[in-house]
């Protein structure tokens, strides 16, 4: 089998999802850093890999590319302990993956990007406040769900947890305060203690 190649940007939570899963699966991969701040996802070469111009992209074999972090999570985890086999549980995993991309990531990742990656908090003050409000709505949904559960789906650690963990555990870098979410905090600590855990800054 070819070594998987991951086109990635180290601070990206979406890239981190895949680094974390691949490491926990014990699957070797080669990381190619693509600096999104320097326009490296907008070159003709990168656009030939993902016409939507976003990392992460997984090169499964030479010339065979897959984009969208959560689609890649599903692709990699099929047939493993990280994705349930049961049809309804699998559907619930997908439900949380779509929740993450639609109701969570745009509001929790973006303030972090503006504040901690671009260093442009003042310039984006109003937009950050607006995003944070919706981010807190997503965190409340997560808190409620986790109050009676250890993990998001089927009482087991799955890619639903990985997808939601990626930006939630660094939400403070986007100005969020998790103090009001004890169940989320306990879930974060639980994931950090799992075998094969790596941090978001670890290459």
């Amino acid at each position: 089998m070819e070594t998987l190649r991951l086109y990635d940007f180290l601070p990206s939570g979406n890239g981190y999802k895949l680094r974390l899963l691949l490491t926990q699966m014990g699957m070797p991969f080669e990381r190619v850093e693509v600096n999104i701040l320097k326009g490296e996802t907008r070159t003709p070469e990168f656009l030939s890999k993902n016409p939507n111009g976003k990392i992460p992209v997984l090169e499964i074999e030479p010339g065979k590319y897959l984009a969208e972090s959560n689609a890649i999570l599903v692709y990699l985890s099929e047939g493993t302990e990280f994705l349930p086999y049961d049809r309804f549980l699998r559907a619930q995993v997908l439900q949380w993956l779509f929740f993450e991309q639609y109701s969570h990531e745009p509001f929790i990742a973006t303030p972090r990007f503006w504040i901690s990656i671009l260093g442009k908090e003042k310039e984006n003050h109003a937009a950050i406040k607006q995003k944070q409000e919706l981010g807190y709505v997503a965190l409340k949904v997560m808190e409620k769900h986790l109050t009676s559960r250890k993990f998001f789906v089927g009482e087991r650690y799955t890619i639903a947890d990985i997808a939601l963990f990626a930006y939630t555990h660094v939400a403070d870098e986007g100005g969020f305060d998790l103090i009001q979410f004890p169940a989320i905090q306990a879930w974060i600590e639980q994931i950090k203690a799992l075998p094969g855990y790596i941090s978001i800054n670890q290459e």
Copy 2:
């Protein structure tokens, strides 16, 4: 088997995805209209079905609920002609489903909601322009992809087409002009001619 129950809002493209798929699959279902404009997704009763307070929600059997339109599409289409069996093709379908929810729907559905459903174009003029700009980026990605293909994945009509069709074919209701996208237009006409096609306003 129980009859599937779909909590839905007729003008919703996300709800329409499921009406279209279920009809094309020949699967009977009961539609329950939930008027999102009257706060009916914010009642304690509805929030017990989907804590994220959004339609569509599929009730698979009494008390067993699934949210997120694209997760429901996958759940319903598994093992049918609408979702490829091949692992990489299936991953490509998911890639487009996540593209739709992250890079397409927020920018193409929202102007339609403000203009044609709420009738509040003037009040949201600046926000509409901003969304439309990003909506056109998504349409360009689709146009490029469809220029050399009849359908999004594997040269066959799949739930990737259904998900992207839902809001694209009514993009004009959000002020988009599809005249510059001939491949998208041909793809729309092709879908409208498929067996079992129903329109978005058809209960």
